[in-house]
Symmetry: C2
Subunit: 446 residues, 2 copies
């Protein structure tokens, strides 16, 4: 688990703000749920492996000594959503579209871009089976990626029922479908031959394994296989509709039908999708899950969701230098110094005025008792990457002026107090700071 220092938080906040802005425009509304859920809400939802990765909280008071647990840390954002929908029947819109950007916790071994505390950015749309839901979701996610500066992404699209129909046609018995999907999911990573071995090792006949793998080589063959069942034909039409309609959205040109896409989670029932970036892998994925909410509410409510991995996006954007200088800009616009005990109030007033003009202002808290102190203040201004240093001595106060030094140009001038806000606010942001020369103490000449 990590601390986020200011430069990290600024980047995270920037990405989160972009995600939020785009999702708001798509009519998704914000939801937040508590970090701690009742343990029964989480257990049994993520498979045996998932169960092991849940952080469990010790019961307080009486149960404490026996090691009993009653609460657990949020493991994803989908199960809490399903609980909220069940808890708030009648209070939520018929077509509830929510986004949720919060951390989740998994007691996993950390790896590159994978942490035990990490943020997910989820959108889910509840209440409709229309393909418009998938299209809008793909469009929203594409627009998020475009707004962040990604151009080379693909929205891989597939459908669980297509995979079912294909496996049936290939002669894989229904009881082996889940096993087969786990093997197929690794095609990109380990290749054709190893997946075939894996399929056979999982008890699937060699002929069926061959038939199924060759279907991924030839779209027409795949299509012919899935159309053998009504379920497959209808899923095929659904995928075609999503592909066509996506062309009318910002996702145009990014969606690619990808028969081998399987997605790990067992609760998907319809279209499934994943964002792939060349040379990077997945930045997130999702799909339709028409059964999960029923586990909480008792009533079947259709749903479709997509989860973006914030940590992965941040790592890639960092590696590709996709953050503008503006996002990474830290430090104050102006460092206001305090000349002596008698002018502290004037310096504070100046700071207030500059802040009133929207500037980020830091007051150097120590009084400058000597030229050496002033040197320290300027050195500090450099390490803080301040754009300007303001010096306000007794002379300047009397003249109604402020001495301003631009740390990127080294330029120094006395600016009338009344126009200092506009003078600093309208200057172009300084780029490429260099260590400043030390100016004279303004009243040493007195």
């Amino acid at each position: 688990m990590r601390d986020f220092l200011p430069e990290d938080v600024r980047r995270r906040q920037y990405v989160i703000d972009v995600v939020r802005r785009v999702y708001e425009r798509y009519g998704f509304e914000p939801l937040e749920t508590p970090a701690l859920e009742n343990i029964e809400t989480l257990t049994g939802k993520y498979g045996e492996e998932g169960n092991q990765l849940i952080y469990k909280v010790l019961r307080r008071g009486e149960g404490a000594s026996t090691g009993e647990t009653d609460l657990a840390l949020r493991y994803d954002l989908t199960v809490p959503l399903a609980r909220v929908v069940a808890d708030n029947r009648g209070k939520l819109p018929k077509f509830f579209k929510r986004y949720q950007i919060q951390p989740v916790w998994r007691a996993d071994r950390p790896a590159r871009g994978r942490f035990r505390e990490f943020y997910q950015c989820d959108v889910d749309a509840i209440g409709s089976t229309s393909p418009v839901v998938e299209v809008e979701m793909i469009a929203a996610v594409s627009e998020v990626l475009q707004a962040l500066g990604f151009k080379d992404f693909t929205v891989q699209l597939n459908h669980r029922a297509l995979l079912t129909a294909m496996l049936d046609a290939a002669g894989v018995e229904a009881a082996k479908h889940a096993d087969a999907l786990i093997a197929i999911d690794k095609l990109d990573k380990i290749g054709h031959e190893k997946v075939k071995e894996d399929l056979v090792a999982r008890g699937i006949q060699r002929r069926a394994a061959d038939a199924c793998l060759s279907a991924f080589e030839d779209l027409n063959a795949f299509d012919a296989m899935v159309r053998k069942s009504e379920l497959g034909a209808s899923a095929s039409a659904n995928v075609a509709a999503i592909m066509t309609l996506a062309d009318a959205t910002p996702a145009a040109g990014h969606v690619k039908f990808t028969p081998r896409l399987a997605r790990g989670l067992s609760y998907y029932t319809g279209a499934i999708m994943e964002i792939a970036v060349e040379g990077i892998g997945s930045l997130g994925g999702g799909g339709r899950y028409d059964g999960l909410i029923g586990m909480f509410s008792g009533e079947q409510i259709p749903a479709c969701g997509f989860s973006l991995g914030l940590e992965r996006i941040l790592v890639v954007m960092g590696e590709r230098a996709m953050f503008s200088a503006d996002v990474d800009k830290s430090g104050p616009d102006v460092l206001v110094t305090i000349f002596d005990e008698m002018t502290i109030d004037e310096s504070l007033r100046l700071a207030s005025e500059l802040r009133g003009g929207g500037l980020r202002v830091e007051v150097y808290p120590e009084t400058l008792r000597s030229g050496k102190d002033l040197g320290k203040a300027f050195k500090y201004a450099d390490t803080r990457q301040a754009r300007f240093v303001a010096v306000l001595g007794a002379e300047e106060v009397n003249l109604g002026k402020v001495k301003i030094k631009n740390l990127s140009t080294g330029e120094q001038q006395a600016v009338p107090r009344a126009s200092v806000v506009s003078a600093l606010a309208h200057r172009p942001s300084a780029i490429g700071h260099r260590p400043s020369d030390i100016v004279d103490r303004p009243s040493d000449s007195e």
Copy 2:
């Protein structure tokens, strides 16, 4: 613990954004720390009562069966800050000013405006003993409250050394000071007589208790008592400097020297402060703590902090109707409907265009197969508090127009497709929605 539905999140986000904007202008920088800390980091920092309220997380793997714990949920934002400062020596600025807005967890009994998961908004300034630090902090907190719309707040100011000097002068032995402060802290709640009983019950002599309570009645008497010691005299000068300098900031007129202010936490060493709002009580508090960081880093580093209670602020702002309609505005600007299967793509294109114009757009996902369906869509638009409904039938597509209904006026018109974004973007926000009449299906006349 609570779920935050969209209307809750919007209010929370609004307050957090205001806090962030003001703190940024004061040169505070964002920090975030993980929810889980090593258990040793937290234990022994919050007193015996605090220890009981820490949520402890069960060890994974081997220790799991024995009920062993190794991690714990963040209890406040100050101890994590002290750890971060110790962990990042040399990486942080000499005068590190950070703000942190994150949830903390306490296994407390919930009460009005008090929850087991709640957000704190902390600012802390590390590295300087200058009173400018306290002044800037009081100014920043005052500006936050003003920006949120609070006018009737007081920043109560006191100093731990003043209390020490007063208790000495009143004849309370040093070993009883902590006890005495706990009793005095209740003066506002339970009154003079009961505090006196409490002081006596805690083993403080009746004469000393009398002397100490009468000091709070008369500022001059208090002043005379504290000036008997050098420590008291210097603390008095410190408080006077803070009061005077605060007048040069947005805190002017809000700061009040409050001798009876004691603050619960034991780690304060200098000025202490609390925000009081008439009829409401405290919205937050803070003070100087020059010893705490040394517990982690081994080196004494001066520090001063202030914590605003987000939950309390939200409750009060809700009760006082301080949120503008703009903050509470939920629902889309436009609900785009889908006329039939042939025009889905046109409706999606329209939605994209409107979103490109910055509008919040929801697409009603179901195709309108009948006037009854259209009625449902309009009813849905009303429940969602949409400002406009857009209907785009084959006729409109052919004419290059969109039928737009304003749900607050009931006005309905066909707008040329090319100008629909500007037409909707520039209309004043509709206030006071009323159930809309149902418009005719646009192409029923065909």
